[in-house]
Amino acid sequence: MSNFIEGKAGTRLLLMGNEAIARGALEAGVSVAAAYPGTPSSEILENLARASKHWNLYVEWSSNEKVAMEVAAAASFAGLRSMTSMKQCGVNVTADFLLHLSLSGTRGGMVMVPCDDPGAVASINEGESRQFARSVEIPCLEPGDFQEAKDMIKWAIELSEEIQNLVMVRSVTRLSHASGTVVLGEIPEMRPQAVFKCDGFVLDPKEGIMVPAPVGFKHDLQHKKLEKAVLRFEECPFNTYRGPEKPELLIVTSSICHLYSREAVHRLGAEDRVGLLRLGTTWPLPPKLVEKHLRRVDKILVVEEVLPLMEQDLKVLAMELAPQIGVKRFYGKRDGSLPMVGELNPDLVGQAIAKILGMEYKTAPQEYVDRARQLAFFGAPARELTFCPGCPHRASFWAIKNALELDNRHGFVCGDIGCYGLAVLPCGFQTLKTMHAMGSGTGLASGFGKLGRFGLDQPVLSTCGDSTFFHTGMPALVNAIHNQSNITMVILDNSGTAMTGFQPHPGLKVDAVGNETPSIDIPAVCRAMGARVEVCDPFDLEQTESTLLKLLEVKEGVKVLVLRQICAQSPEKKAKKEYEMRVNEAACLGQNCGCNRLCTRIFRCPALVWDQAKGTARVDEALCAGCGVCASICSLGAIERKEAV
């Protein structure tokens, strides 16, 4: 929608937070960007990939977040400016390298942009990235709105280059995926010359070697870098105060919570009673700045997501300053003013302020809410998540579920991250029994598969997507093979990283920018590792089921079943129906014994609708993807398929 990639300075645009960040990278003179897809961060790299067609940039979808950070770091070591972005989980994946990088330091300005997901809008955790900045001791910045999401990148890159260490700029879903008004800045003409200077004196930061040792020396040096950063923080334009000289209550906030807080104060009409200190530099806290504002009040409300980190830091600082400024009363998460779990919003902040100030926070009248809720009981039936029509995972899990039940030994599936993670729900017949991090499904299976000696006689399976395979599935598979674990790994190859928007990965012949590149053949890799490998099309339910049954009976070693069928949402496949489907109403048994609505009740494709009036199933042509699989599940042959023209 917005042509911010080529837009001129001074142009006013409506930009998504991630678009603003991408533009920020361009304005900061970033030359290299690498990332692994993860909601809510994916659009940053996607947009930089588009930008690389116009500007001189190298942009890469790396196989995982750690490698992505390493790629960005290499650019920095060679004197270029770089960026790596990820979702909150991805920070954990980078952790080992991040720990050492923060000690070795960087050269060209380097910024990491973790995008957290408070409230787990698109995750299965609401982990904190800011904690990592503290534990590896790098400066942490948090943009408070869309303009800052852009402007802070340049500021952070320049800071990084000055202190010779990477800087964290942390976003959240409600910033990354929200849109707001941004005025564009200048994109500098970049002609960087990459050279890795490493032959000087080993400890020379500019020409020495890039290692974290000697640790004592480097750690000390790291602290000096932080001190420099703190000096910059004291003067940083992103730390702002708005409100009366001596408010009754001081709100200290960061990130998008700043907008929630401002809105809450506005709704209460309390602008003359509440001061709003918005920190853009949240670790380390600039002590002089904080002291100046703490002096204004006795009561402080800290509004942040997710963990009360800033709250704790402020309390420590306040305690140290107490002899000078007096004892302060803090409100926030720890005292229950704000919830510890989930994301915040203007109403939660408003209610907290109202309670502290003895005011009333008004929303819609209770009788309206009650009545609406009452009507919504029937008026708004629950909407569960499901696989898209034509999704190969629906077919894969149908075959897996059937095979496991026929095998009849209480076999189970360890799940992993991706669209197929939805198989914990009815749409995947609740087949998945564990789900944690990328690659964990096969890691757990590798462990389960060794418990035979302790009496575990249940068949062990894992499911792993094609992108997940390259991310962290491979080391788990290596482990299983080398340690002779008795498992079956089912690789669901739908030719893309689907959940996050269908980005390419090493199994595909195309890169982030759309150029042709060599692809890595998954079955060949598994065979080379020494697994027994079978490949099936999950749309062929019968063959998939019988292959899997056969593999489940193999008593030893690692079996890999690759189920290969392209995602229904992939640009290649989308809207191309292979079959025209229809239900033969005369043959449909519907609710009667012999069927009991198997297709609509259990298979649950959104395009198969139960027609209450007729007592039969019906195909919704608008939703049907034409994959033809439902024809195989009806034992009466009442679902007919005909090849589409």
């Binding site: 929608m1 917005s2 042509n3 006013r12 409506l14 909601t39 809510p40 809008v121 698109a122 303009q147 879903t173 409600r174 910033l175 929200a178 849109s179 707001g180 008004t181 998008i256 907008l259 929630y260 401002r262 809105e263 809450a264 919003n345 109403d347 929303t363 819609a364 009248p365 309206y368 809410v369 009545r371 609406a372 809720r373 009507l375 919504a376 029937f378 008026g379 708004a380 039936p381 909407r383 569960e384 998540l385 499901t386 898209c388 669209c419 939805l422 009815p426 959940m499 996050t500 609505r597 609509t600 009740r601 259990i602 649950r604 959104p606 198969l608 609708v609 139960w610 209450q612 608008a622």
Partner: protein
């Protein structure tokens, strides 16, 4: 159409629907149209997993002088555009109020629980009755059916934007719509989108209660 002043600042619009309906597209078009008028626009979305058939909402804050929170405060929506009727009802619980105006598409998208025969989908009459009870004014539009006549269900969103401009609560101009659409679409596509927009506007003009 034209230069309606904002009756409230910030003015809050929520577009709600089912993942995959084009909620995001609609909110961006609307946002860009308003941004062209020099207004501050903030849009909050829910992406990712919720797209797999779950409920999605875009919260649009429109203001003369500031950027506001990407989440509309509870009970504070002024206008609700429902791409799907039951999602509109769901949204009214948290964000509705007696003064809210609603433009609602009539084509149902059955949740999986309904197609599986486990829960029932409310009748069109009940939906109409309940929405009229909970809102100041509701316009029901067969946007999807009309869109299919134009060639594809995806035009449904544009029809609804046209309708939103037609109820005259926001400064939405046809000219701004054309400029915004032209930035990303070819001339032939712009043509048919304009037709959809005009159709939407006409569908509300004869329909005042």
């Amino acid at each position: 159409m034209g230069n309606a002043e904002l009756s409230d600042d910030p003015y809050n619009v929520i577009i709600t629907g089912v993942g995959g309906q084009g909620n995001v597209l609609a909110s961006r078009v609307l946002g860009n149209m308003l941004a062209r008028k020099g207004l501050f626009v903030t849009i909050g979305e829910s992406f990712g997993g919720t797209q797999r058939g779950g409920s999605v909402s875009s919260h649009i804050r429109i203001s003369r002088d500031s950027t506001w929170s990407p989440q509309v405060p509870k009970g504070a929506a002024h206008v609700l555009v429902g791409l799907e009727a039951t999602e509109a009802i769901r949204t009214l619980v948290d964000y509705g109020n007696r003064k809210i105006k609603v433009i609602c598409n009539t084509r149902p998208i059955h949740p999986v629980g309904v197609i599986a025969g486990e829960i029932s989908y409310p009748s069109a009459q009940d939906i109409r009755k309940w929405m009229e009870e909970l809102t100041e004014k509701t316009w029901f539009i067969d946007a999807t059916d009309e869109a299919i006549n134009l060639g594809s269900p995806v035009f449904g969103n544009i029809i609804l934007i046209g309708a939103l401009s037609g109820i005259n609560v926001l400064p939405l101009d046809r000219e701004d719509f054309e400029k915004v659409i032209s930035e990303t679409m070819s001339p032939e596509k712009v043509e048919i989108n304009l037709r959809a927009y005009d159709l939407g506007a006409s569908m509300v003009s004869g329909r005042k209660l």
